[in-house]
């Protein structure tokens, strides 16, 4: 292997991916892109294998290889022309969920396709039954927005106007969508242009050879990491609560991890049959989640490409919550079920790699989405936004407070941006005392966002979790605090769940609730589970948590056996 060229090529390609991301961040319109950075930019070879990626959103990284490969089945390489850009979002064609839009552009060198520049981004508004793309009560994929099979949105460098018209006619915020789609196109244009420069410099043969070596190198490093993990069969399970349709049913996620030598198999047999509501994961999501868990357990400096995924195999029986069959809804599979799967795999592996796991994290993105007509400007607005949760405690440290769940790495939109964009007045962002699962190392805390509606009406939907089943602890650590969504109708003093206030089947997943001016909404985010016996916690750490207001005096006494001196 020519390690020097490999090192140079790898960092050049990752830096191109990063440049693509910067373009997206700077030119896109939705807060989910430009504040939360819910997108991914990568490069693929002509078979669709990912050869480089920049660190933006992990949920999308693991899904990229399957995505590109699925599209190439439908639009073979022979049908691609220079300057084409393919758009796709169909979960049933290798996608993750309808909001996730994938753009890819072939990189032509001397008339031959060498690979692709790829950008995947979360488009906030995709049509369908609820503004903002997350309809907690959907029962069919058709309610979750427009499905786009692989189509050429740009043909030989020219906008394919028919496709644009069709797309923009089916969403509530065409102006914003236009800006976001243009930004994604600018990103793949940049990636393709830069890669052609790299080809001009090194030549096709050298790059083909070096990229093959690079994938092999990542594979080798991944296998070395896996070999260090004790062989064995490890199992664990967790539940996703309700599906928005059948309120009292929990859905089992079962994993059995077979670890032998330098390979690992994640087997999901025993998981629940697919749900009627939108909590199902596609095979792409379940695969991406397994990759995500394994990447968390191994050295984070391994170059991320399809090579790292070669030692990982996934078995997901069709017709289950981890490999859903058409045409069931699945938008929440990507945001909620994904982190739940990752947590379950980490739970299974905790005895094998105690320093590479954590107790359960909050594992939800909140996904409180809304839309409406701004009373002042008359323009339609829609928002997909997310919130942070507490991480689980670890064998060596407390869980982090208020961080995006581990299948995303998104930012919270600042209050001053949020209120400038949307007609809410946020009344507080405050940590939830005692939401950190007690332990020798405690879980992180969640927080509560309270908002006052200052528009005539805002139509809200949500797809969250952990209202009923708290985040579990490990090794004697206790459960973390649950989340909640509560509403206080104008003129009333009491706070109600969405179930009580609007007769929805579930408190955590629902669609199209009309929040009126003067109503308040409270989004309570879960904490994380604790790790180890709370009685073994360092007394100075308990005193610190008490002084700093993370735990109450009652919890200090009852859970930690702490008495102030």
């Amino acid at each position: 292997m020519d390690f020097v060229t490999m090192n140079i090529l790898d960092s050049a390609m990752v830096s191109i991916c990063r440049e693509m991301g910067i373009t997206l961040m700077k030119t896109s319109y939705s807060t989910i892109f430009n504040e939360a950075l819910d997108f991914t930019c990568g490069l693929a070879d002509m078979s669709g294998d990912m050869i480089a990626v920049a660190d933006y959103c992990p949920a999308q990284i693991g899904g990229m290889p399957l995505l590109v490969k699925s599209c190439l089945k439908e639009i073979p390489i022979a049908e691609l022309e220079e300057g084409d850009i393919i758009l796709h979002n169909d979960p049933y064609r290798g996608g993750l969920h309808t909001p996730e839009h994938t753009f890819f552009k072939p990189i032509f060198v001397e008339g031959e396709v060498m690979g692709f520049a790829v950008a995947i981004g979360h488009i906030a508004e995709v049509g369908g039954m609820a503004p903002g793309g997350f309809c907690g009560e959907a029962t069919e994929i058709f309610q979750e927005g427009l499905r786009i099979p692989p189509v050429k949105i740009v043909k030989r460098g020219v906008d394919n106007v028919e496709v644009w018209k069709l797309l923009l006619a089916n969403v509530r915020t065409p102006r914003v969508n236009y800006g976001d789609l243009k930004a994604l196109i600018a990103a793949v244009d940049l990636g393709e242009r830069q890669m052609r420069g790299i080809y001009a410099k090194y030549g096709k043969e050298k790059i083909r050879e070096t990229v093959a070596d690079l994938l092999l190198y990542s594979e080798r490093r991944m296998r070395a990491e896996l070999e260090a993990i004790p062989d064995g069969i490890y199992s664990f399970h967790d539940f996703v609560e309700s599906d928005g349709v059948d309120s009292d049913r929990h859905y089992r996620i079962q994993v059995e991890v077979h670890k032998k030598g330098g390979s690992i198999i994640v087997d999901y047999h025993g998981s629940s049959p697919q749900a009627a509501g939108p909590i199902n994961a596609t095979l792409g999501v379940a695969t991406s989640a397994a990759y995500n868990a394994v990447l968390h357990m191994t050295d984070p400096t391994i170059p991320r490409n399809s090579g790292c995924f070669r030692p990982i195999e996934v078995m997901a029986p069709p017709g289950t919550i981890v490999n859903v069959d058409f045409p069931a809804p699945e938008v929440g599979g990507n945001t909620e079920t994904h982190p739940r799967i990752v947590g379950t795999i980490l739970g299974a592996m905790h005895s094998a790699v105690p320093n590479r796991v954590m107790a359960a994290e909050g594992a939800t993105h909140c996904n409180f989405v809304f839309g409406g007509v701004d009373a002042e400007t008359g323009e339609y607005f829609a928002c997909y936004d997310l919130e942070g949760v507490g991480w689980g405690g670890r064998a060596f440290a407390d869980g982090n407070d208020a961080v995006d769940s581990i299948n995303g790495n998104c930012r919270i939109t600042p209050v001053e941006v949020y209120e400038t964009r949307f007609p809410w007045l946020i009344e507080g962002l405050a940590f939830n005392v005692d939401s950190c699962g007690a332990g020798e190392y405690r879980g992180g805390v969640g927080y509560t966002k309270q908002m006052l509606c200052v528009n005539r009406e805002i139509i809200c939907s949500q797809m969250t979790d952990r209202h009923v089943l708290p985040p579990w602890g490990l090794e004697g650590g206790l459960e973390g605090g649950c989340g909640a969504t509560l509403v206080q109708k104008a003129g009333r003093d009491d706070w109600q769940t969405m179930r009580d206030a609007y007769g929805k089947p579930s408190t955590s997943r629902y669609s199209n609730v009309a929040i009126k001016e003067g109503d308040r909404v409270r989004l309570v985010m879960p904490g994380g589970g604790g790790y180890g016996n709370p009685l073994a916690r360092d007394r100075a750490a308990v005193a610190h948590d008490l002084r700093e207001g993370y735990i109450s005096p009652e919890a200090a006494g009852k859970l930690y056996g702490y008495r102030e001196v």
Binding site: M1, V4, S11, A186
Partner: protein, 674 residues
């Protein structure tokens, strides 16, 4: 006769550059840094001058603020904010440092949660008062802070104060009455821009630094006053400009990144002196390399600095990208069998193997010695003799593990180190949409010239420049700089309903504020004002900066501004959306009080081709070459040599690649062309 002095307090050495304004004579010297009390080393170094009476100006790069932040030795701060929002500094942005790192621990803010307080008050996003300020609550809070007795400074940041600072200013008034002498920072003064977390974090950092910087400067001022130059000392701010000690102590967050700006200011001066508009400088030290650009004669200013990951300081600073790659970066082999360099560094102690101070790890410097690029007899001008055998032995140990021969391995080490630096160059060029082909690469730091030609080649930069005294380039920047104030403010408007009067009013306030700040520090002469706006398509969240040369917004120049925005967007991102609504977000003003610049002495014109002092073997991509070695001190204006060649000088060496050519310009810069 009068002398201007630049002083750069580094980790190991304090560098001095003096310039005699009458004769144009420049002198360089060093003194060991005295980390416990840097002023001691500074005064010792100044002792080299016979008479401090000739000093007309001394400018100082200081690490006081940087160190206080990095070691967390600032004040105990109380933070006051809007009811409901005291957890903003703890929630932060919600993202994490890197993917897949389950060992990551979220960075703590510079305040304790128990010291964060809320008062009832609230503005809306349009600046209307939703809840009036509860003044009584502020007084009660002040009483608590007084009773607590441990609080050393107060930071105030309320929601939407960038639109209307009334509540923050009133809070400050009340606190000043109740807590006389307490240092107070309010966010409107520190950073009147939107996004509450970033503004809060910056304001807290300012308060955190106030007591420690004030105390340090008081001591420093006393020592300078004793020496009779009390009124002549300026300190370098993170924007590369000068402030008085008192001015900097009032807004200490402005000097977060003082020292490293010197090389960038020096690069801008080089741009003026040589007429080369676009320069990219890499300042290569032992453990790290700083990269930055000068585009069209101007340094690039950023507001995205972070103390530690997740803790932003958003005041305007010169945009310097730092990576952990330097001469001391250590070679290692990762689990996949790949050779890697750094970021672990052998630093100054024990240092690279060739220093002979007990270091055994192979470093970039060792590889350079093995390859004949650095002469063991002429390191730091011969002050320090290097152990070539130790360098070779260290590299051989790495080579054995890789199954390579020693020369091959040393060459691979240099290539990988170069590649790491290439990453930093890409970050300041390509990732900002700048084309390397439009740039000249400037080498700074003792190690810079050793790598400049390699980097030109791999980065596709066609021209290189090695200044005089590359090791003291940063201190040289200090003698050339001006007093400078950067002021930003969020004033949000959209093109459909753009109110030119409102914009003019806000811009005028900014300009007046900046001029006042300069004048209050005694900088009253030759003040230049540069105005700009930051705008975007409505809905976007990141802005493009457009210069705005006029005093007032008029119908014509507003229309022209929208036109320029579309064009700039097209040029920067490859597309524009004609007819789309544009939103202006921030107004920016830079005020500069121009100081007298030293004139560089010209070299005599050449009359004969330069003669090499010796020859030696140097390893290049295609193997060993015996090459001529020139002494830089013998060069004249207009001299030209062709690569491969080596140019030695007292604290550095330039390695010219085969195929490259080197010329000497009017003032002695080495100009390298590909």
């Amino acid at each position: 006769m009068s002398t201007i002095i630049g002083i750069d307090i580094g980790g190991t050495f304090t560098d001095f550059v003096s310039y005699d304004t009458d004769t144009g004579h420049i002198e360089n010297w060093k003194n060991l840094t005295t980390p416990a009390e840097p002023i001691v080393g500074v005064m010792e170094g100044l002792g080299k001058l016979d008479d401090l009476g000739v000093v007309s100006k001394a400018r100082l790069g200081t690490t006081i603020a940087t160190n206080a932040l990095l070691t967390r030795r600032g004040a105990k701060v109380a933070y006051i904010t809007t009811q409901g929002f005291r957890d903003v500094p703890f929630i932060q942005r919600g993202d994490r440092r890197s993917h897949y790192d389950i060992t990551w621990i979220k960075t703590r803010p510079l305040v304790a949660r128990a010291d964060c307080h809320e008062v009832a008050e609230r503005l809306t996003a349009k600046g209307a008062v939703h809840t009036p300020l509860d003044e009584e609550a502020v007084r009660e809070l002040a009483a608590r802070i007084r009773a607590d007795g441990t609080i050393e400074a107060v930071a105030v940041c309320t929601l939407f104060s960038y639109i209307d600072p009334g509540h923050e200013q009133r809070i400050r008034e009340i606190l000043a009455e109740e807590l006389p002498g307490m240092p107070i920072s309010i966010s409107y003064d520190v950073l009147p821009k939107w996004k509450e977390y970033d503004r809060a974090s910056t304001t807290i950092a300012d308060a955190y630094l106030k007591p420690v910087v004030s105390e340090n400067f008081r001591e420093m001022k006393a020592r300078f006053a004793q020496a009779g130059i009390g009124s002549k000392v300026g300190v370098i701010k993170s924007n590369g400009g000068e402030a008085t000690l008192a001015g900097a102590a009032d807004a200490p967050v402005q000097i977060t990144l003082s020292g490293p700006t010197g090389a960038v200011v020096a690069t801008r001066i080089m741009s003026e002196l040589t007429g080369i508009p676009n320069l990219v400088v890499f300042d290569m030290g032992g453990t790290s390399t700083d990269c930055s650009t000068v585009v069209a004669g101007k340094e690039h200013v950023t507001t995205s600095f972070e103390i530690e990951w997740g803790i932003p300081i958003q005041i305007p600073m010169i945009d310097i990208h730092t990576i952990g790659a330097g001469g001391g970066s250590i070679a290692w082999i990762d689990k996949g069998g790949m050779l890697r360099m750094g970021p672990q560094s052998a630093a100054a102690v024990p240092g690279p193997a060739c220093y002979g101070r007990g270091g055994t790890d192979a470093t970039v410097t060792d590889a350079n010695v093995v390859l004949g690029r650095i002469s063991p007899d002429n390191f730091l001008g011969g002050q320090m003799k290097l152990d070539a055998a130790a360098a070779r032995a260290a590299v051989a140990r790495v080579a054995e593990k890789l199954g390579m021969d020693v020369d091959e391995c040393a060459f691979a080490m240099v290539q990988i180190a170069n590649n790491n630096m290439l990453g930093a160059l890409r970050a300041v060029l390509l990732q900002r949409g700048l084309d390397p082909r439009d740039f000249t690469l400037v080498a700074s730091g003792g190690a810079g010239p050793v790598h400049i030609c390699d980097l030109m080649e791999i980065a596709g930069i066609p021209q290189g420049l090695v200044p005089n005294y590359p090791g003291q380039f940063s201190a040289f920047g200090f003698i050339m700089t001006d007093a400078r104030v950067d002021r930003h403010r969020t004033v949000q408007q959209i093109s459909k309903y753009f109110d030119g009067e409102r914009a003019t009013r806000a811009m005028t306030e900014l300009v007046e504020g900046a001029i006042d700040e300069l004048k209050s520090q005694g900088y009253t002469q030759r003040i230049e004002i540069h105005r700009s706006i930051e705008a975007r398509y409505m809905g976007q969240n990141h802005e493009l900066e457009l210069s705005f040369p006029a005093d007032e917004f008029s119908e014509d120049n507003i229309a022209d501004m929208w036109e320029r925005f579309h064009r700039e967007h097209e040029a920067r991102f490859g597309f524009s959306i004609p007819g789309e609504t544009i939103e202006t977000v921030n107004l920016k003003v830079v005020a500069v009080a121009v100081s007298d610049k030293p004139e560089m002495r010209e070299l005599p014109v050449t009359d004969a081709p330069p003669q090499p002092a010796s020859r030696r073997k140097v390893h290049f991509a295609d193997g060993w070459h015996e090459v001529p070695v020139y002494d830089r001190a013998t060069f004249r204006q207009g001299d030209r040599i062709a690569g491969p060649a080596v140019v030695e000088e007292s604290a550095s060496v330039t390695i010219l690649q085969p195929g490259q050519a080197l010329g000497v310009d009017r003032i002695g810069n080495l100009i390298i062309s590909a």
